[in-house]
Symmetry: C2
Subunit: 326 residues, 2 copies
């Protein structure tokens, strides 16, 4: 176990993992009062921040520190992907219990560094303190060429509704992790998606640059919670065909459907495409693109029922404020 004699020593240890802290993206990184960079002419800036808290978003005993480091940045960067942007730099606010050893921190920083490298997103600073549980708050700044941003509010009735990848796989990975108590293979695809989600940066940029998506967001809390948010922002409704949902493999059909509707943590992109546009390819690079329904005039979200009728889709994804949580 290794303790840090003071805050400056911890900040040094963090900074050491991310050298060099300056570069073409960042004029000034860790070590001053604030970070400094020069925005590119013709680009707008994007800003997002996410909690990642022990007990709520991860469990210290079950989630490897490398996953905690990777995921806290990946999920925040996913919001940049959902606008069509490119990540630039991030701030790490980290609060650690005294009992969290240098070994945990070492693994955490290794995972965070891998994510930062993979996303080409530079550590720009942050804040550190003590706490009873591990608390993480990550802020990501991104950029996008002016006018290319894809908002939640652009969906129109008749637009086709698409989702990338599969839905429910990350939640299935979480269930495996909980059941197995560490005995599930680290190579298991669902577990990997839960522990090391890959934000869909390239897809988001491609859809934005080609102006293919009329509205877009990332699915982080689950389709049944997130789709109504996109619809509310666009003042539209949606009709989803559950038979079209891209399900996780290797699970019983009904469970897979439930996970696809309500499972969180997938970080796939949910987007709408005007029917006037030539059809999307079925894949972007190796990533599946699936049409799962369409945007409607009402303000409600329905599923196509077995009898061809419609049934209301109730939000039952991840919500920390709802009394009964998964």
């Amino acid at each position: 176990m290794r303790y840090f004699r003071d805050e400056d020593a911890l900040v040094k240890e963090i900074a050491r993992h991310f050298l060099p802290s300056r570069g073409p993206k960042l004029r000034l990184g860790i070590g001053d009062d604030a970070a400094l960079w020069k925005p590119k002419p013709g680009f707008a800036s994007i800003l997002t921040s996410d909690w990642f808290l022990e007990g709520s978003h991860f469990l210290r005993e079950q989630h490897p520190p490398e996953s905690v480091g990777w995921k806290c940045l990946a999920r925040a960067a996913s919001d940049i992907a959902a606008m069509g942007g490119t990540p630039l730099c991030f701030l790490l606010n980290l609060a650690l219990p005294a009992a969290v050893s240098g070994k945990w921190l070492e693994g955490f920083l290794a995972g965070l560094r891998r994510a930062a490298k993979s996303l080409d997103c530079v550590l720009a600073g942050g804040d550190t303190t003590r706490s009873q549980r591990i608390l993480i708050s990550v802020t990501v700044v991104g950029e996008i060429r002016e006018g290319q941003e894809v908002l939640r509010s652009g969906a129109r009735p008749g637009d086709l509704l698409y989702v990338s990848g599969t839905l429910g796989e990350a939640e299935h990975g979480l269930l495996l992790l909980r059941k197995s108590r560490g005995r599930v293979s680290p190579g298991n695809q669902a577990l990997r998606k839960h522990l090391y989600p890959e934000p869909r940066m390239a897809l988001g940029r491609w859809l934005a640059e080609r102006k293919l998506a009329t509205a877009m967001m990332d699915v982080s809390d689950g389709l049944s919670s997130d789709l109504p948010r996109l619809c509310a922002a666009s003042s539209v409704g949606a009709l989803v065909d559950p038979g079209k949902l891209p399900l996780a493999r290797g699970i019983e059909q009904e469970s897979a459907k439930r996970l696809a509707l309500h499972g969180g943590d997938d970080y796939e992109l949910l987007f709408t495409v005007s029917p006037g546009k030539a059809g999307l390819p079925r894949k972007f690079r190796t990533l599946k693109l699936t049409e799962i329904g369409e945007i409607t005039k009402g303000r409600t979200v329905h599923l196509v029922g077995k009898d061809g009728g419609r049934q209301l889709l109730h939000a039952a994804g991840w919500d920390p404020f709802r009394p009964k949580n998964k």
Copy 2:
């Protein structure tokens, strides 16, 4: 007591306090995946983020929610002042226990809104979740005309060392609050400085625009902790005359000196001025400016002793990682 039925309801309640969420500063605020704004040509962007945690930075029973709201933004904005910049927008990450009522939130948001208005800093988004204690992480984005930023690293031997306002007053306010258990007058100046610190935005900008300061930072942890950081960044030392420190009034002399050296939370600006510059005025508007020493060649920070000799200044300000905290 009022509870929020889900996360969206809480976000709506927060947003309601900060309408309109768009304006000349912000192209897109709360409600999408991320915030969006267009940086001004010729300006650099500044980014900073601060923890504000129940139990560490404030006590739920002793600190009014209005103060928690005001201070969480004010202290983060102080880092923007310390670069010479102007705040633009901020993100609020807020985690609340189920038992924290709508009344606490109402007071918190009122204080936060007052600070946002006073600083002309727009709420751009954030994240909300549940937790056992009140957790706050605030990110502020600011801007500064390119080349005007004042870093910690620009101090040179021979530069004069200045500080704004008084030192130790906020810590004295905290001591009053702890002793009095709510019976100290809300008009008490030291208490006000502890509860409602005013970041020195105008002074920071003035020093930056006129290129008066060679190095600058804000004093948040206490002079004995912060000055060594400025010196380390500039690869210099400093010699401080304790007889020159601008002390808080109405306290016994020795206590006032100790508080001025080691007391935290003042959010005054500490800056260095080249001796070649014409002397600074004694006041900037109504804010006192005091020369407290000079920058030296060594890498150590000394006090002028009573016998005219030098004694090392040991860092004894606020540090959450040091075993014995105040």
